[in-house]
């Protein structure tokens, strides 16, 4: 492989991986933006989404096949199911703690994460499950880089979901309500906004996005397990922070940047490989030292 080919291939690798991070980071960022909660269960919703998608595909593949015709409805069903699970989690675990100290909610989020992970562990026996589809390696050659159709659909889906979300938050009444709650919950209540319903909606959308990402990961990598949400949850959180937590375009940028850093970090001769994560997270520390609000985050103004 020529240097240019390596560069382009790692660019493609980074963008594909980054779009996964970005989708998961969006949910993190949205929830944080609205109720200032680091929802550590978010990575596990991605994992539950993958399993829900696996179950749905088993259901649909009988009459729609295991190609995209069966996968698309599976993604939608999984998004709906996990979206509702997100709402349920908020109702049961977070809403009663709305006025409690932030630390209590944070610990609750960790507990929810453990509950989800271990429930799936118990249900699947910890086995790696093969997520088999009919998608092949077919694709097109873009100059020096071979890109499969699956990869294109994947990145395409991520981009479409991100754009729709951004439009939803910036252009609709519900989106405006979310942004308003982010600024002042009490004022919103006085203005007649149903705060709890809007927060539930935020959880629905964030969880549904994580589910979509989880199913896509299952389809793409072909293997799912109860622990798959842990690492990506951590990385997505990093991506959200790099982008400026609470900021939607920031989460996308952060995700893509993290994906690219990992891809090119691996390629660095001599170090690379085993040092990739050191490289990535050292960058995160440096970045936050010099730009604590992230790429697109605005410094918070404490009002008197």
């Amino acid at each position: 492989m020529s240097l240019t080919a390596i560069f382009l291939q790692q660019l493609a690798n980074g963008l594909i991986l980054g779009s996964f991070y970005a989708l998961v980071a969006l949910g993190y960022s949205m929830v944080y933006g609205v109720i200032k909660l680091l929802n550590f269960a978010h990575g596990d919703l991605y994992m539950v989404g993958a399993f829900a998608g696996f179950g749905s595909l088993a259901l649909f593949s009988g009459w729609l096949g295991a190609g995209w015709a069966g996968i698309v409805p599976s993604i939608l069903l999984s998004m709906l199911a996990v979206g509702l699970l997100g709402v349920l989690i908020d109702r049961v675990a977070y809403r009663p703690l709305r006025d409690a100290p932030k630390l209590s909610v944070l610990i609750t989020a960790l507990a929810v994460s453990m509950v989800l992970e271990n429930t799936v562990l118990a249900a699947t026996g910890g086995q790696f499950t093969a997520f088999s589809t009919d998608l092949g390696f077919a694709g097109i050659d873009l100059g020096l880089v071979h890109v499969t159709y699956t990869q294109m659909v994947l990145v395409g889906t991520s981009v479409v979901l991100m754009v729709v979300l951004e439009l939803f938050v910036s252009r609709t009444r519900y989106g405006r309500a979310m942004r308003a709650i982010a600024i002042d919950q009490d004022a919103c209540r006085l203005m007649g906004i149903d705060v709890n319903r809007t927060i539930a909606l935020t959880f629905f959308i964030g969880s549904a996005l994580a589910a979509a990402s989880g199913v896509l990961a299952g389809v793409y990598y072909g293997s799912i397990n109860f622990f798959m949400g842990f690492l990506i949850g951590l990385k997505a959180f990093t991506a959200a922070v790099i982008g400026g937590i609470g900021n939607i375009p920031g989460a996308m940028l952060g995700g893509l940047l993290l994906g690219l850093l990992e891809a090119f970090g691996t390629q660095i001769p001599g170090i690379g490989g085993q040092w990739k994560d050191v490289f990535v997270f050292a960058f995160l520390i440096l970045f936050l030292v010099f730009r604590p609000t992230g790429l697109l985050g605005k410094p918070e103004v404490e009002r008197m």
Binding site: N13, G14, I16, F137, K276
Partner: protein, 389 residues
């Protein structure tokens, strides 16, 4: 008052003496013939916990060997009786099981599945001078910790490295890439392979450590492709290995791929699909790949109504070897049995002949090479394959 007390003491004393006498009488009656008729052999295997299926399978094979020996009249005219000790694949449980076996006075011990659990038991058997035939555990850490009474009938990491290097050489491989996950097992295998390969003057063009549980190997795949190795050697487990080899093929790598014995699972084919075809994997000698294990497999199926598992042949061989050593020693004297084990020369096991090195490991590796074909593992017998027993 005083008289009454004395009386009571006398009566109690009498009862106590009678009980002791009765117990002694029963003891004499109960143990004397038993001691004359059985030789107790401990079977240290995990019969509970996550590894229980493998442990029960080993126990079955050990019992089957004992039954066959007993059917032919036993050893030195005595029958063998198996005493199971559950190691649960846990160091603490294994130590408890070993202490129990020793205090029960077993003549020898056969088994040992998880290396981590077997390691601390070496000292217990060593202190009691109990001969121990290890039939599955094969970490190189066991070799140095062996007080001299333990004998490993499963090939170790060094043998796997040799099997791998021999295969690469026979296939005309010049450069290799080694990928591991940084855990003790896979890093050890990777490090030993790199040392052996570079010692022969050949090149390791890429040496990577990936995080356990990572799903995306695309960047590593691109790096491997840019380093252009003739072969890629994955030394870790099947779940992540399946993803790597799938992405290697997807990324356009068409060279040889070899996997360490941790990836020897039929699950690999479910996870990697067609990408697993043609891939090589090193494996301990399992019954289904050994032409010499036909009778063993038939007997096992007949007795337990299931196919023998991965370590059953070695466990069977281990029990047979122990019986052979007792026969050679001519008594159940433990030191004599250890000496007999040490002088084992070409003992004919189902999984191959057994002769020990000065370090009590197999002189001749019994690793086999498997190749993926049509969604399952098949025995590879082409150039570079180890000679079959």
């Amino acid at each position: 008052m005083t008289i009454g007390t004395t009386k009571r003491v006398v009566r109690t004393g009498g009862v106590a003496a009678a009980v002791v006498a009765l117990a002694m009488g029963l003891g004499v009656a109960g143990t004397m013939p038993a001691q004359a008729a059985t030789i107790q052999i401990g079977a240290q295997v995990p019969t509970s916990g996550s590894e229980a299926p493998y442990g029960i399978d080993m126990l079955n094979a050990i019992r089957m060997a004992a039954d066959q020996i007993n059917a032919k009249g036993g050893v030195l005219g005595d029958k063998i009786s198996i005493v199971p000790g559950d190691s649960a694949c846990d160091p603490q449980a294994a130590v408890n099981a070993a202490s129990k076996l020793v205090s029960q006075g077993v003549t020898g011990v056969v088994g040992g599945y998880c290396s981590g659990a077997t390691l601390p038991t070496l000292k217990i058997y060593g202190d009691a001078h109990v001969p121990f035939v290890i039939t599955a555990s094969n970490s190189t850490a066991l070799i140095g910790a062996n007080p001299g009474n333990a004998f490993m009938v499963n090939s170790t990491g060094y043998d796997q490295v040799k099997t791998a290097v021999d295969l690469f050489k026979a296939k005309g491989i010049k450069t290799i890439a080694i990928i591991n996950e940084g855990d003790a097992y896979s890093a050890d295998l990777a490090r030993l392979t790199r040392a052996a390969w570079e010692k022969m003057g050949d090149k390791v063009v890429d040496y990577e450590v990936v995080s356990k549980g990572e799903q995306d190997f695309s960047a590593v795949v691109t790096k491997i492709r840019s380093a252009k190795p003739d072969a890629v050697f994955w030394t870790a487990y099947y779940a992540d290995g399946a993803l790597l080899l799938k992405q290697l093929r997807q990324g356009g790598y068409s060279g040889m791929i070899a996997l360490g014995d941790g990836s020897n699972s039929s699950k690999l084919f479910q996870l990697a699909g067609a990408a697993a075809n043609g891939v090589f994997c090193f494996s301990n000698p399992t019954a289904n790949f050994l032409p010499s294990a036909k009778t063993f497999t038939a007997d096992y199926r007949k007795q337990f109504h299931q196919a023998p598992g991965p370590y059953s042949t070695l466990s069977y061989d281990g029990m047979m070897l122990m019986a052979h050593a007792i026969q050679v020693a001519g008594s159940t004297d433990k030191a004599k049995i250890i000496a007999a084990l040490k002088s084992t020369n070409g003992f004919k096991g189902v999984a191959g002949p057994i002769t020990f090195t000065p370090k009590n490991t197999l002189a001749r590796s019994n690793f086999v090479v498997l190749q993926g074909a049509g969604g399952k593992w098949t025995l590879y017998t082409g150039p570079g394959a180890p000679k079959m027993p």
